[in-house]
């Protein structure tokens, strides 16, 4: 039954940038419909983990199963077809495209293998982010930070991806917008999306996540459920300086 297959299953993942060995055997599992947060200090390897899932690092070794499919040996452009969408830390809004062109750029991957959530329509996305409708024709990089973040998330919602990798989406944004993003994540969860978040902003991430992983030196050092959060605070204080 598809419901039992984890959305994301990583076993003993090693990854390199050139000669630098960054990830040293990462193990992590994300079940369907969960929101999982990846915590850790700067340089711990959280963004590298996301990039490794998408095939954007150098050499990789280990196992990465997306919606049940092994993707460790695949080139980047094939990985998205398994129902995964990536929102990078730098947002990567294209300056040579308008807001609308940016939104419509990622192709809708019909029948995304393992993806049973249909992509959101353009109308639905504009309903979620009305600002984007007003700024349709503006150059992508002329949008405000918050608008660019919404654009970055909005464009992968259209593709039919049901597993979302969100890297530092609250970074540098005003509290009002951060709250809106929190509401968005809860809504996505209700709709059945699976979300993996890398977040520095502990106050933002803590109430949203079902489970937590903590990374240090390229490996997972702690894992616990939301219910254990209070008990784990001293450990987290030490690991993250929270």
């Amino acid at each position: 039954m598809t419901a039992n297959i984890p959305a994301l299953e990583i076993k003993d993942l090693h990854a390199w940038y050139g000669e630098s060995h960054i990830l040293h055997g990462v193990d992590l599992t994300v079940n369907r419909g969960e929101v999982v947060t990846l915590l850790g200090r700067n340089g711990a390897g959280r963004t590298t983990t996301m990039r490794a899932i998408m095939g954007l690092t150098g050499a990789r070794k280990g196992s990465i199963r997306i919606n049940g499919n092994e993707t460790i040996g695949l080139p980047t452009h094939k990985i998205a077809h398994y129902g995964i969408g990536y929102c990078p830390e730098e947002r990567a809004i294209f300056s040579s495209l308008s807001c609308e062109e940016n939104l419509l750029l990622p192709p809708v991957l019909k029948g995304a293998r393992g993806g049973d959530t249909p992509g959101m329509s353009e109308a639905e996305i504009y309903e979620m982010f009305p600002n984007l409708r007003e700024r349709k024709q503006s150059q992508g990089t002329r949008l405000s930070g918050g608008e660019q973040q919404m654009l970055a998330v909005g464009r992968i919602l259209r593709t039919g991806a049901n597993l979302l990798l969100l890297d530092e989406i609250s970074e540098g944004l005003a509290p009002v917008i951060v709250q809106a993003l929190a509401r968005m994540i809860l809504m996505l969860k209700k709709k059945g999306y699976t979300v993996v978040m890398v977040e520095q902003n502990f106050r933002f991430a803590a109430p949203l996540a079902d489970r937590f992983y903590v990374m240090e030196h390229g490996a997972i050092v702690e894992r616990f459920a939301a219910s254990e959060l209070q008990a784990k605070m001293p450990v987290l204080n030490e690991l993250l300086g929270v």
């Binding site: 980047t76 062109e101 992968i156």
Partner: protein, 295 residues
């Protein structure tokens, strides 16, 4: 009308048209170079040789298979485009990760191979090629005689350049190209087959050069060396225009062709080097190029 500049108007306009013709070639070649450079980060030294190949194929099509100009206008770019795909897939893709100089050296090597093979086969003297019957002769416009073929070259080039510009700036396909030029890895992460796009872009760029070659066959001597000096001028055109905008490349190419043509009228000794002089001036005043964005 009396312009007392010592040159009769019809002669001046005729040179202007010749300048536009050269400018059309500069525009198409620098456009192809810019598109290839944007996505592949490689300066395609072989552009001149592939331009030449397009012209030689037109001649060969007529000589060996009786295929006329109009057919070759379609077939030649297709064949050269496919050769480009082979070049990209077998050789270029290995050097993307390396220092940029290797791209220049590799395409230089490819240029020498293509020119060398053509030289052995056809020598260095020109191969004759006449314009198609429909475009022979001239039209009397009253103030000048308009050579039909040259008018056609300018017209066809401008149309093709504008069509390319439109496709890149205004269509979804162009959006992929623009996004891929900016951040190919992220575009790949969206599921777009960027490596394929890269290959096809190179193929298109050189097909454009071959199209220019077919257009050039009746006006420039078809010889294995016809691309050599042209490519160096096109490099200067590209430095002057900067590679930041498609329209910029087109406008710069046409304008420099016109300026070169006018120089031939008023100061012929400088006509071979006027584009380089302009490059020097632009470098001193606006190093990024007229339309350039510093990369």
């Amino acid at each position: 009308m009396n312009f007392d500049i010592g040159i009769p108007l019809p002669a001046l306009l005729s040179q202007l048209l010749l300048g536009l013709v050269n400018g059309a070639f500069y525009a198409m070649l620098s456009l192809g170079l810019a598109v290839i450079f944007g996505l592949l980060n490689v300066i395609n030294f072989a552009h001149g040789a592939l331009f030449m190949l397009g012209a030689v194929l037109a001649w060969a099509g007529m000589e060996y298979a009786g295929l006329n100009y109009w057919i070759m206008l379609l077939v030649s770019p297709l064949v050269v485009g496919m050769i480009g795909v082979v070049i990209e897939k077998s050789m270029l893709r290995w050097i993307y990760k390396l220092d940029h100089i290797y791209g220049l050296l590799l395409t230089l090597g490819i240029t020498l191979v293509i020119e060398g093979v053509m030289r052995s086969a056809y020598g260095v003297s020109g191969l004759p090629y006449s314009p198609p019957d429909a475009l022979q002769g001239a039209t009397d416009l009253g103030f000048m005689m308009l050579p039909n073929y040259r008018a056609w070259v300018v017209g066809a080039s401008v149309v093709v350049c504008l069509a390319t510009w439109f496709t890149i700036e205004k269509t979804k396909l162009g959006a992929y190209l623009r996004a891929g030029t900016e951040n190919p890895k992220i575009v790949e992460a969206f599921g777009v087959n960027v490596p394929l796009m890269v290959t096809l872009t190179y193929g298109f760029g050189v097909a454009l050069a071959a199209f220019a070659g077919v257009l050039a066959a009746p006006v420039i001597q078809v010889s294995p060396l016809m691309g050599q000096n042209l490519i160096i001028v096109v490099f200067a055109v590209v430095v002057i225009g900067g590679m930041g905008s498609i329209m910029g490349s087109i406008v710069t190419g046409l304008a420099l062709g016109v300026i070169e043509g006018l120089t031939k009228v008023f100061y012929p000794q400088a006509s071979a080097t006027v584009v380089f002089f302009i490059m020097v001036i632009v470098l001193m005043l606006r190093p990024a190029g007229l339309f350039g964005k510093e990369k």
